[in-house]
Amino acid sequence: MSESKQKTDSKLSRMDFVTDQGVRWCPGCGDYAILAQAQKIFPDLGVAKENFVFVSGIGCSSRFPYYMNTFGFHSIHGRATAIASGVKLANPDLSVWVVTGDGDGLSIGGNHTIHLLRRNLDINILLFNNRIYGLTKGQYSPTSELGKITKSTPMGSLDRPFNPPALALGAEATFVARTIDRNTHHMQSMIKRAHKHAGTSFLEIYQNCNIFNDGAFSSLTNKETRDDHVLVLEHEKPMLFGKNQEKGIHLDGNKPRVIDLEKDKNLGINDILVHDEKDIVIAMILSSFTHNPDFPDPIGVIYAVKAPVYEDLLYEQFDHAVKQRGKGDIADLLNAGDTWEVK
């Protein structure tokens, strides 16, 4: 039921995924960058075009399916993950992608998101996180920082924000990753990894809303600051960052701390925490860096483990039931139990 069973079509190109619909995001929106990377990478995923389905909810990001020339469903607010579950269970051979945002996927649709993650259907979630409500014109979102001044919070928001990777891990997600809209190559590789993962993949994409929350991720994208603020994760590699890779994450007991190898001569490369995608403790530590000014923001695959895939289990039950009871016969069923003849 995973991608191995899907047909491949090597002739696909970017243009095969472009629709005739005019793109209606604001000029300069980070969504353009994500769309461009998706259209670039999807032809190479080894899936026949007709087997892709994009499902979205409501919000700026949720317009995405209209611009991808595949099967698409622009549904209702928050419910994309639930609709996608039905799409996938009806036909497990499809490559199903949910495009959602911080409001759609974590606020109104938070419930469906966590339940999809724990069930582990082979569905890919692209969560565009711009930490603001764009389509309704600028209210704070569940990932906005505490004290955020917006139209609906003129004195500052009172909500503590969600930490998306931590939320996903808490919901038993089997694949959690993060990337940034401006980091095109990294995004491509994350989309590929998400696609490859058998089970639900949760890919958070930091996305700049240049109208209502411009610069939310500027420290992660500006040339001058990004090296000190972004930790690029690689499996089995030490967690180093900084212009010269001079900084790193060190564990003091179970407490993480940033160390500077150039300044702190007592510590060396062997004292830097090595990333292991399969280690839940490391994943939890990394997710705790979100919204924490003392740490860089990790991007890359935070966590990826194998676990039973829901639809595989479902279809195994079908086989098992037929083996046990024979293929269902409606006439037998209708005539089951105590019956009698009236002449």
């Binding site: 026949a48 469903f73 549904s75 209702i76 419910r79 009806a90 036909n91 046990q324 069923l333 009698w340």
Partner: protein, 613 residues
């Protein structure tokens, strides 16, 4: 002393006891035996919402009423002839309904000072003479007799005591001349792994039967002859099971996989349970995280080419409302079952009502037409569900099935259909395009106005749908004002065309007269019984039963015109009446009761007489 045998046509028995006394089970067993014997029958289970209400309390009384007859019957009966009261609370709650002269069969061992006090009795009504002369009283030491019968067994006294319902059942089998075979066989199967439980219950059943035979307090046995049902093979069936079978039969007939997405809720959960056991048919049941995800997953499955189904009850349907609008806008087949219960809000979870009619017909944002079909009896639930699937696919639309708690849990003899005799319908997914032709998702069939169904995985049919208004034919997003008018008109016209499928309306009685009783859903039976009684009294009363509430049958207006009065009995405050008054400008009168149980035929007859003066 010899016992006499008396022929009767018609008997209503009410089994009442504590919710732990096994009344539902006792009633169901009597029903099965009676059905196999060949009586016509109709049942009404009625139980508290609490799984175990405090023992002996008035709130904890659980009831199963059974009406069986040598004639064709349509209701579970108004007033019981026999009340089986397993404790004082059961007697207290149900005595008022018992027919004058009716029989009370009570478990005397439970009429203890504590239980009498819990039921609010100051003295023991079985002994204080208060019932004498009004009813036949049979105070029987059921608990003691089952205890004696199992004295040599090693079972705990608690387990032995639980078999007292089987004693009561055995006694009634004797009284109505029934055999124990089917119940004994059922006990053996049900408790296969617990032979001592089978033994104790079997002993209790036989002890009850033998007690009837030997005791001197019973002088008469009753014989209720076989009913003359249409020839065929029969089984007993309740509404929720019939709906489940109807959905499966449609999926089999249409050769389309069935997908059920839902969330547990009383009284609809049994549909989920039943379908979940059909894995060997490839039925996909998905217990979602909430009602919304239930319907959303079903819509997703329909988009992918399965037949999407969801079922719930009023509060759950309220949560699904936005998704219903999405199904209307995207024009995907979907069947939504509402097993109605008392509202508003959480209301009366285990009691029946018909108060979600507006919710089904009108309850959405925007002008959002929705076909609504309502089964009229437990067995008809099969056909209503089947028809809903057929219409949903043929017209590419969500379809509501409005059942209710009474139909869901009530049962009747059901003539088993053969798959080949069910109406044919075809599921066809779009597959072929001529060269240079593009798939137009909102191009319609000229006859049904249904759009084409193209499913993911089909090359060259890639397209996008969604909740935004669609441009006619292309399905592109469109905010154009003229297009919105056209699409709204098309959505209404499509649903109106479903009425082309209906046969001419069937009127019970003369085609014109003084008064027409219009019924829908679960009030069919009482309306029919009431019309029969009125006609026997030479009143010019006919009955018309509405199977589809939306669209209404095309001949309804002309039928209504042939009657001076229109009476619409409903278990709500007048919802169908408002629709009918609005549609036909007729001064229809309502009989509106929301008491958590079906309206009684007698109440309708009284209302008819009041109108006719």
């Amino acid at each position: 002393m010899g016992k006499s045998l008396k022929n009767v046509d018609d008997v209503v028995i009410r089994f009442a006891g504590d919710s732990g006394d096994g009344m539902q089970l006792t009633g169901t067993r009597f029903t099965e035996t009676t059905a196999i014997f060949g009586n016509d029958l109709s049942t009404l289970p009625d139980y508290p919402a609490e799984i175990r209400a405090p023992a002996g309390s008035l709130a904890g009384v659980s009831v199963f009423q059974l009406h069986f007859s040598s004639k064709n019957i349509h209701t579970p009966g108004d007033n019981p002839d026999v009340l089986v009261a397993m404790n004082p609370a059961a007697l207290k709650v149900h005595l008022g309904d018992l027919m004058p002269g009716g029989a009370i069969i009570a478990n005397a061992n439970t009429f203890t000072p504590k239980n009498l006090q819990l039921a609010g009795y100051e003295s023991n009504p079985l002994e204080d003479g208060s019932l004498e002369g009004v009813y036949e009283i049979y105070a029987i030491e059921m608990t003691k007799m089952v205890t004696d019968a199992c004295a040599d067994m090693s079972l705990s006294s608690k387990l032995v005591e639980r078999t007292k319902n089987m004693f009561a059942l055995g006694m009634l089998y004797w009284m109505y001349n029934r055999t124990l075979d089917s119940t004994l066989a059922w006990l053996r199967k049900k408790f296969e792994s617990k032979p001592e439980i089978v033994e104790a219950n079997s002993r209790a059943l036989k002890t009850g039967y033998n007690f009837g035979e030997t005791t001197e307090i019973f002088t008469t046995r009753y014989k209720v002859g076989k009913a003359s049902l249409p020839p065929g093979k029969y089984r007993n069936i309740n509404g929720n099971y019939a709906i489940s079978l109807g959905l499966l039969a449609a999926a089999q007939k249409g050769n389309i996989p069935l997908f059920y997405g839902g969330y547990p809720i009383t009284p609809a959960s049994d549909i989920l349970h039943t379908l979940a056991a059909f894995r060997h048919f490839g039925v996909k049941t998905f217990q979602a995280e909430d009602e919304i995800a239930g319907i959303a997953s079903a819509i997703g499955a329909s988009f992918s080419g399965n037949l999407g189904i969801t079922a719930s009850s009023g509060p759950g349907i309220a949560l699904k409302t936005e998704a219903l609008g999405l199904a209307v806008m995207t024009e995907l087949p979907l069947v939504i079952v509402n097993v109605q219960r008392g509202g508003p809000s959480t209301g009366l979870p285990t009691k029946t009502e018909q108060s979600d009619l507006f919710q089904a017909v009108l309850g959405r944002n925007g002008d959002t037409p929705m076909p609504v079909v309502a089964p009229k009896s437990p067995g008809d639930c099969f056909y209503a569900a089947y028809e809903a699937c057929m219409i949903a696919i043929k017209y590419m639309t969500p379809v509501f099935v409005l059942s209710d708690g009474y139909l869901a849990n009530g049962s009747e003899p059901w003539k088993i259909p053969e798959l080949k005799d069910l109406k044919n319908f075809k599921v066809s997914f779009q597959k072929d395009l001529s060269e240079n032709e593009n798939f137009m998702p909102y191009l319609r069939d000229p006859e049904t106005l249904a759009r084409g169904w193209a499913i993911p995985g089909t090359s060259n049919f890639e397209h996008r749908i969604g909740g935004l208004e669609k441009e006619d034919i292309t399905g592109n997003v469109s905010y154009d004002s003229a297009n919105h008018q056209r699409m709204t008109d098309l959505r209404f016209a499509k649903i109106a065309r479903i009425a082309n499928e209906f046969p001419p309306s069937n009127i019970f009685g003369n085609k014109s007269g003084e008064l027409l009783i219009i019924t829908w859903g679960g009030t069919y039976g009482t309306g029919r019984s009431a019309a029969e009684r009125c006609q026997r009294e030479n009143l010019k009363v006919s009955q018309l039963h509405l199977r589809w509430i939306n669209p209404l049958p095309k001949d309804l207006g002309s039928i209504i015109k042939k009657f001076k009065h229109v009476l619409i009995p409903e278990q709500n405050m007048g919802q169908l009446r408002m629709l009918i008054r609005n549609e036909f400008l007729v001064d229809a009168v309502g009989l509106n009761q929301v008491r958590g149980r079906p309206i009684r035929a007698g109440s309708i007859v009284e209302k008819v007489k009041e109108i006719l003066g």
